[in-house]
Amino acid sequence: MNITVIVRQVPDLIEPVEIAASGTALDLSAATFIVNESDDHALEQALLLKEAHGGAVTVVAIDFGDIDNTLYAAAAKGADRIVKIAWQEDSPPAPQAAAARYAEVIREIQPDLVLVGIQAHDELDGVLAPRVAAELNLPYVGVIRGVKDAGGGVVSVCKEFPGAVMSRMKVRLPAVLGILGAEQPPRYVPVSRVRAAMKSVQFDQRDCTALETDTGVEIERFYFPEAAGRAEMFEGSAEEVAERIAVSLAEKGLLK
């Protein structure tokens, strides 16, 4: 089975989030970028399918953030081919525009299956995975945790619902799946193998045509939420905080 995976980079939310001077976007100038978590799971799922059933995994990415690191890591993990689409702007392309460009590349590749992370936390007015499916006119189902090759051009997928309930579905290929989680956590790849990939792997570079998009959604302002309520904060060392918490729990009769 030949699989194409889209990977993106997003600001690491472990770091403080800042708002740009325009007031209508995130300030990405000081952001630390990491691979979008659900895209990382999509890659892992693709590699698991390849290892079980053969085929090839192609990773496609728009050149934004520290994407090269992610792409070399993907190659070190076992991706067979990397396609990098040029992008010069300071902010990532809107999902609609990005989907159109990804679709151009994927049409050339003609994979059996396209895997994309279900969500990127910076999406506001579009979702990439179903948008790519719409561009390619392929069937789509998302919030998938686990994909198995059922043979005969069909995959069996588990769609996650609340309460740890899953819906098992079969999907006739070609198709696009929005991945929430792989069957196992994304694999660790040693730095030495990533460095080796940096020396040996060549990216298939693509230009990016102008990406005009009108989502119909006009951003008026970004701002930090004002809490309706706020926790009573305990200050001090971990030991002092622990004592304050334990006292509070004891006072409320929660320690038996």
Partner: protein, 325 residues
């Protein structure tokens, strides 16, 4: 249907109208009151009659009944939904930010070429403009956006509005699918329920919730020791379950369990809306996170800005000391 009407896509979960649908009805009522439109609830199922009573807050209930809609399948849902929305041209279509919503809302937006806003928490109508407040970056930032083109597809975060429970007299229209439905490329096979045997976190009075701040699987032992001292159980936010460190039955939040314990300790959990959805009904919430802007502090009763790995052993000892007094 008039151009000021609001369409609510009803979600059925385990043979009942989902709570989020009742919240969407409240949001829709607010928009319709301001615009002079009506609220239509659209039920896609094999037989929608049993769900009518729960949807009384709507002005109009449309039941599209078809065997192909007995279980959720994206292509059948979208075929009907796209037809109804294109035909009726409502001002806005409200969809829950749920497993089904994440399929149908963006795909409907793409197919019809109409605006989509994710993470909606608030909305109002002002003339031709629809003003929406949406959550970005896991709730760390809010965005105020304006949408003029119609219909706007709004994916609403569960828990953003009170559930509508007012009695009403909605007019009910029952019909077969307006488009022929046949099995497509995506076919439902079976529902898989969680395996019995693991701890049922929905029945625990004390939960020790861990998130990314736990850093690695070995550190879960520290949380287990605290949970044992408190007579509770360990649960987690999604990233921990995605890593395979705890089973899905221990996940709290949108795609996991909804819990309401007497005590919820949120340790190293930032408190994304999806997680809050599953635990904000807890009687007492104590949050510990190194990020002072973590949204979890907005709903916690007590908080502290320390490293959970430092706190966990100290808190276990402090709890044990109090219990022996």
């Amino acid at each position: 249907m008039s151009v000021q009407d609001i369409l609510v896509v009803v979600e059925i979960q385990r043979n009942a109208v989902a709570e989020v649908t009742l919240e969407l009805l409240t949001a829709a009522r607010g928009l319709a009151a301001a615009s002079g439109g009506q609220v239509t609830a659209l039920v896609l199922s094999a037989d929608g009659a049993p769900y009518v009573a729960a949807l009384a807050a709507a002005d109009r209930i449309v039941l599209v009944n078809d065997p192909q809609l007995a279980e959720y399948s994206p292509e059948a849902y979208l075929a009907v939904l796209a037809h109804v929305v294109a035909a009726e041209q409502p001002r806005a279509v409200l969809v829950g930010s749920t497993s089904i919503g994440w399929d149908v809302a963006p795909t409907l937006s793409a197919r019809l070429g109409v605006p989509l806003v994710l993470g909606c928490r608030g909305m109002k109508v002002d003339g031709n403009a629809l003003h929406v407040t949406a959550s970005v970056s896991s709730g760390k930032v809010l965005a105020d956006v304006m949408v003029e083109r119609r219909p706007a597809i709004l994916m609403v975060l569960p828990g953003s509005f009170a559930a509508a429970n007012e009695p009403g007299r909605a007019a009910v229209e029952s019909k077969t699918s307006p488009v022929p439905l046949v099995p497509g490329a995506v076919e439902f096979e079976a529902m898989i329920l969680p395996e019995a045997g693991d701890t049922d976190i929905t029945q625990q009075e004390v939960l020790v919730g861990v998130g990314r701040g736990i850093q690695q699987q070995d550190n879960l032992e520290l949380a287990e020791e605290l949970a044992h001292a408190l007579g509770g159980a360990v649960c987690a936010s999604r990233p921990v379950v995605d890593q395979g460190w705890l089973p899905p039955t221990r996940q709290v939040g949108k795609s996991g369990m909804t819990v309401k314990p007497k005590l919820y300790l949120a340790l190293g959990i930032s408190g994304a809306p999806e997680h809050q959805e599953g635990m904000k009904g807890s009687s007492l919430i104590v949050a510990v996170n190194t990020d002072p802007k973590a949204p979890i502090f907005d709903i916690a009763h007590y908080g502290a800005q320390v490293d959970v790995l430092d706190l966990l052993p100290a808190l276990t000892e402090a709890v044990k000391a109090k219990q022996t007094v």
